[in-house]
Assembly symmetry: C2
C-alpha cells in the first residue's frame, strides 16, 4: 500500500483475477470506494466463506459447504442407482438447474487432455471405480462437453467400464459441437438428457 | 448461502460489481476456489483496506490513506501557487504518472451535468473558493475531460473565478474529443499540459 496511490493494493489484487486487467481493476476499486462499509463487508465475508468453508465432497467431488458429503449425495430421495459423470462442478449446477435428473453425480475434475498434461490419473476415475464397487449403481450417464477431450474421456471410460455389468449412456448432442456444457440453456440440456443413447 | 450451491453467496456478491454478470461472477468464484487460502486472504485484506482506511483528503479531495490530508497536499516540495482542477481522483493518478506537474490538485468530485442532476452545489466548488482565500494560489489549470459536461464546468468555473486576480489555464486538447482523461497515455497528457492556453 503506497501512500501515494492508496488503491494500489486493491488494484493489484483485483487484476490477478481472470479477465480483469489493470483498468478494469481500477474501475472496480473506485466502485468499491463508493460503496457502503456494509456492502464491502458482505463482499469480504463471501470471499472468506469460499476460503474457509467450501470444499469438495468426498464422495462425488462436487462442492460442499463445511460437510464431508454434499447435499446431493446426502439426499436420500435421489436415485442412487443412476450416476451422471461430469467434468466440473459447474456442470452439476447447470444440470441441477435443468431439474430433470434425480440420480447422483460424479465430478471427474476435468477431462483427459494429453496436450495439457491431464491424463486419466489426474481425474477422479479411481474414486469412480471405488464407488461402483460399494454403491448400488446400475446406470451411468456421461454428460461431458462434446469436445475432442470430452469425447476422448467418454470413450476411455466406456472402454474401462464395459466389462462391468452396467448400462452406459451418453447425453444426446443437442448441444452444439465445440460448445461448453455450462453455457447451454436448460431446454437444450433437457433434450440432450432425453435423447441419451446406449453405448 | 444455500447448501445446494455453496458458491451462490460469492456469485451474488461478485455480480453486483460493475461489468460483471452472473457467468463472469461464477468464473471468478471458481477461480477463487482454486486459489490458496493465503491469496484469498490477500484479496480480502485489500478490500478491507479500502473499506477501513481509504478516505478523501480534507483539502483537495484526492484519496488519502488514514490521514486527513493526502501525501500530495503534505508534500512541501510541491508548488503551492499552482492548482490543477480535475474531476476525479483517477485523473490525479493519471497526471501524477505523467510526472510533469508539480503543483497541487483540487478534485471536484465530478463535472456539472444537469441531465444527471449534478449541479455546481454537488461538486467541491465551495471548498475550492475557500482554498483560494486561505492558500497562496495564483494560477489555476483546468484539466477536465473535453466532453460537453467537462467544458461546461470549465466555463462555469472560469466565469466564477474571473473577478479574482488569478491566472487561469486550460490544458490543451491534444486529448481526442469525447475521450476520457484517465484513458489517455502519458505523452499526450504531457503535450496537453505544455500547450495550455490562457482563458
Amino acid at each position: 500500500m503506497t501512500r501515494h496511490d492508496p488503491l494500489k493494493g486493491i488494484v493489484s489484487e483485483l487484476s490477478k483475477l481472470p479477465g480483469i486487467g489493470l483498468k478494469s481493476a481500477q474501475r472496480l476499486a473506485f466502485h468499491m470506494l463508493a460503496q457502503t462499509q456494509e456492502s464491502l463487508t458482505e463482499l469480504v465475508r463471501s470471499i472468506e466463506d469460499v476460503r474457509d468453508h467450501v470444499k469438495l465432497c468426498q464422495r462425488c467431488f462436487h462442492l460442499t459447504y463445511d460437510e464431508d458429503e454434499c447435499v446431493l449425495c446426502q439426499d436420500t430421495r435421489r436415485n442412487g442407482s443412476t450416476l451422471c459423470v461430469v467434468s466440473d462442478s459447474r456442470d452439476v449446477i447447470a444440470l441441477e438447474k435443468m431439474g430433470r435428473f434425480r440420480g447422483l453425480y460424479h465430478v471427474l475434475g476435468g477431462v483427459i487432455a494429453p496436450l495439457d498434461g491431464v491424463g486419466p490419473d489426474k481425474l477422479h476415475i479411481r474414486e469412480l471405480l471405488e464407488r461402483l464397487k460399494t454403491e448400488p449403481i446400475s446406470e451411468i450417464i456421461f454428460a461431458l462437453s462434446p469436445s475432442v477431450e470430452g469425447e476422448t474421456t467418454t470413450m476411455y471410460l466406456t472402454r474401462l467400464l464395459k466389462p462391468l455389468d452396467l448400462k452406459l449412456y451418453q447425453i444426446a448432442y443437442g448441444i452444439p459441437m465445440g460448445g461448453e456444457l455450462e453455457w447451454v440453456d436448460e431446454m437444450t440440456l433437457g433434450r440432450a438428457f432425453d435423447g441419451r443413447r446406449a453405448l
